[in-house]
């Protein structure tokens, strides 16, 4: 187990380097001139332009720029945006909002998804099963931003239950975006649980439990559900990271000042360091969560051995 973790940790290093290099290459292949974009209508003097270029290492070749960036990254320095504000400050300020949104989305997807999946899985081809199948198919088919408008229109404008944008109303402001963010994963969780439950109900140990005369609720709740949730745990763990990155659409539509919206804004302003910094955070979370899930997997399913 220890060796497995060590090997996995070592393997994340090239992935992290590769991912940052990939983002870096994309962002700094920018055909536009960020310095000129920064100056706007009134052109800077050549001397001032040169000074800015120097400060942000824009004169170096791409690889040197990247290595300097990586050096700073290792010391916790993510660079600064063009107004001189450290990127790490932007991240620490906005990360909690995105995390709150993603965690709330995960809570929603697990609770509703698992309940729907169990209800559908215990009786195949029942009314409930078909309802879950049809509704998950529909949810998967509607693009997230369309779903966001639908939610804004119905629950925000028509019923007026929730604010349609911004964070001015505290927790209530998070509810609509969290549901929209959770919708797609919720459908997957429901389907995963359904398949898993249906498969496990055919196992011998379930027959034994029934033969012992246990109540159906105990058979499902205690014996089947525990084993059925293993793939769900795997999915949800990895999903938390993709939800954070997926917030780029949700946060933009709902005008929530989280990391996703920050990426969107910095792309518009061509602020390379901010883009690279935030996307690196996303990738870091993705890799970490996947690692944790893989390790957890052995803990919750003792049949899996890594040695």
């Amino acid at each position: 187990m220890g060796r497995y973790i060590a090997r996995r940790l070592l393997m994340t290093i090239p992935v992290l380097i590769g991912a940052t290099l990939l983002i870096f290459t994309i962002v700094y292949a920018l055909p536009g001139d960020p310095v000129r974009a920064l100056a706007g209508d009134r052109p800077l003097t050549p001397a001032a332009q040169a000074a800015i270029r120097d400060e942000y290492n824009l004169n170096d070749p791409l690889l040197i720029q990247y290595l300097k960036y990586l050096g700073g990254l290792l010391q916790g320095d993510l660079g600064q945006d063009f107004s001189g504000r450290p990127v790490s400050e932007t991240i620490t300020q906005r990360l909690p909002i995105t995390v709150r949104l993603a965690v709330l989305a995960v809570v929603i997807e697990v609770i509703i998804g698992v309940i729907a999946g169990v209800l559908a899985g215990i009786r195949r081809n029942s009314y409930m099963d078909n309802l879950v199948l049809v509704s998950t198919t529909l949810v998967v088919s509607i693009p997230v931003f369309v779903l966001a408008f639908l939610a804004q229109y119905v629950f925000g404008l028509r019923f007026g239950w929730f604010p349609i944008a911004g964070l001015s109303e505290g927790f209530r402001s998070y509810i609509l975006p969290a549901f929209v963010l959770a919708a797609l994963s919720l459908a997957y969780v429901a389907r995963l649980t359904r398949t898993s439950i249906a498969e496990n109900l055919r196992q011998d140990y379930v027959r034994t439990a029934k033969a012992k005369g246990l109540k159906p609720s105990v058979v499902v709740g205690k014996h089947t559900l525990r084993n059925s949730l293993i793939p769900v745990v795997t999915f949800v763990g990895a999903d938390l990271a993709s939800l954070m990155a997926g917030a780029i659409v949700t946060e933009t539509v709902f005008n929530i000042p989280g990391l996703g919206r920050a990426v969107f804004e910095s792309v518009q302003r061509q602020e390379g360091f901010v883009i690279v910094g935030i996307v690196t955070v996303f990738v870091f979370f993705y890799i970490t969560f996947n690692l944790v899930v893989d390790i957890l997997y052995a803990v919750i399913d003792p049949r899996i051995r890594y040695d």
Binding site: I26, T137, L138, I248
Partner: protein, 326 residues
């Protein structure tokens, strides 16, 4: 020989990954699958996998609904004139700006006072083109890399696996969004390319898994013993096993990529005006959600229905091609 091949084609191709891969549910799935396959073994089937699948598909309401929708949208993409006489770019009357649906204009008018039904109908074309061409790109990259990794193994496999991990770290919409944001002209080709570059990983793992699971099979060794070239072994004996899972994956992915394209266009970093695309129409109507909801409503419905058609067909295909579920 052909019968043999089809037999192994029914073997699940999904489970062949080593435990180092992120998707760690495979180990357990593999076990249950092995049992199922063993139980089903020895049965002689007259019909091939494909004719069986076709027979099941023709009776599947899911597939018929999906295929019906797809046909409508395909005709709409090829010949939008069949659906509307109006010219989507012709301004009828600026005074009609954002007017709601009437008997004359079924979907009302857009902000410039153009017939909205014509606009929405003409929008089907770019979605279809981007969906199919980006998935074609995904298949090109995925099949090539998956075959290389699975067939040669060793360091090639390790390097390609790490590259896959790197790309998995960047979600599709985010990656394509970043890449497109640095491009000056964003047309159908650029958007499709960006989607393919950040979306090939699952296809690669699917193909790799199949290749690994059958490359040591008896019939492959027989072919090698007979002196068949690597190319021939791969294309004639190994890759046909991947057709079924890849087809299912590709069908669903066309739908998902159409949604991704609309998302990118909506965010302002996908297709650009004057292209007629649903994402752009929704983006333009967004500010008028309060008073002219039809501007967002109609392209959204068409977009969702098109995505739905591919997901329905993909779901039905999976059921039909996976003998375990019969």
């Amino acid at each position: 020989m052909t019968e043999r091949q089809q037999d192994s084609g029914t073997e699940p191709a999904y489970g062949g990954d080593s435990p180092t891969i992120v998707d760690s549910s495979t180990a357990e799935e593999q076990r249950t699958e092995d049992v199922t396959v063993a139980e089903a073994g020895g049965e002689i089937r007259q019909a091939s996998l494909w004719s069986d699948a076709w027979r099941q598909l023709r009776r599947s309401p899911t597939f018929l609904l999906g295929a019906g929708l797809f046909l409508i949208f395909a005709v709409m993409a090829v010949a939008p004139q069949l659906f509307t006489n109006a010219d989507p770019r012709q301004v009828i009357d600026l005074g009609l700006s954002a007017d709601p649906p009437t008997g004359d204009a079924w979907f009302g008018y857009d902000i410039q006072g153009r017939d909205y039904f014509a606009n929405v109908v003409y929008g089907a074309r770019v979605s279809m083109i981007v969906g199919f061409s980006s998935v074609l790109g995904v298949l090109l990259i995925g099949v090539t890399m998956g075959s290389l990794a699975g067939f040669y193994g060793g360091w090639i496999d390790s390097v390609l696996a790490r590259i896959t991990d790197v790309f998995y770290g960047l979600p599709l919409v985010l990656g394509a969004f970043l890449l497109l944001s640095v491009m000056q002209n964003r047309g159908i080709a650029q958007v499709s390319l960006a989607l393919a570059i950040f979306g090939w990983m699952t296809a690669m793992r699917l193909v790799r898994g199949t290749v690994v699971s059958v490359k040591d099979a008896d019939y492959v060794q027989a072919a090698r013993a007979l002196g068949a070239s690597t190319w021939r072994i791969l294309t004639r004996h190994i890759l046909p096993n991947a057709v079924a899972p890849v087809l299912v994956y590709a069908t669903i992915t066309v739908g998902l990529f159409i949604a991704a394209e609309a998302t990118l266009s909506f965010l302002g970093f996908g297709l650009q005006l004057p292209e007629i695309a649903w994402g752009l129409q929704i983006s333009a109507g967004m500010g008028r959600l309060r008073d002219s909801a039809h501007l967002v409503f109609f392209p959204s419905i068409f977009l969702s229905l098109m995505v739905l058609s591919f997901i329905l067909m993909g779901d039905a295909l999976r059921d039909a091609l996976d003998p375990k579920l019969r």
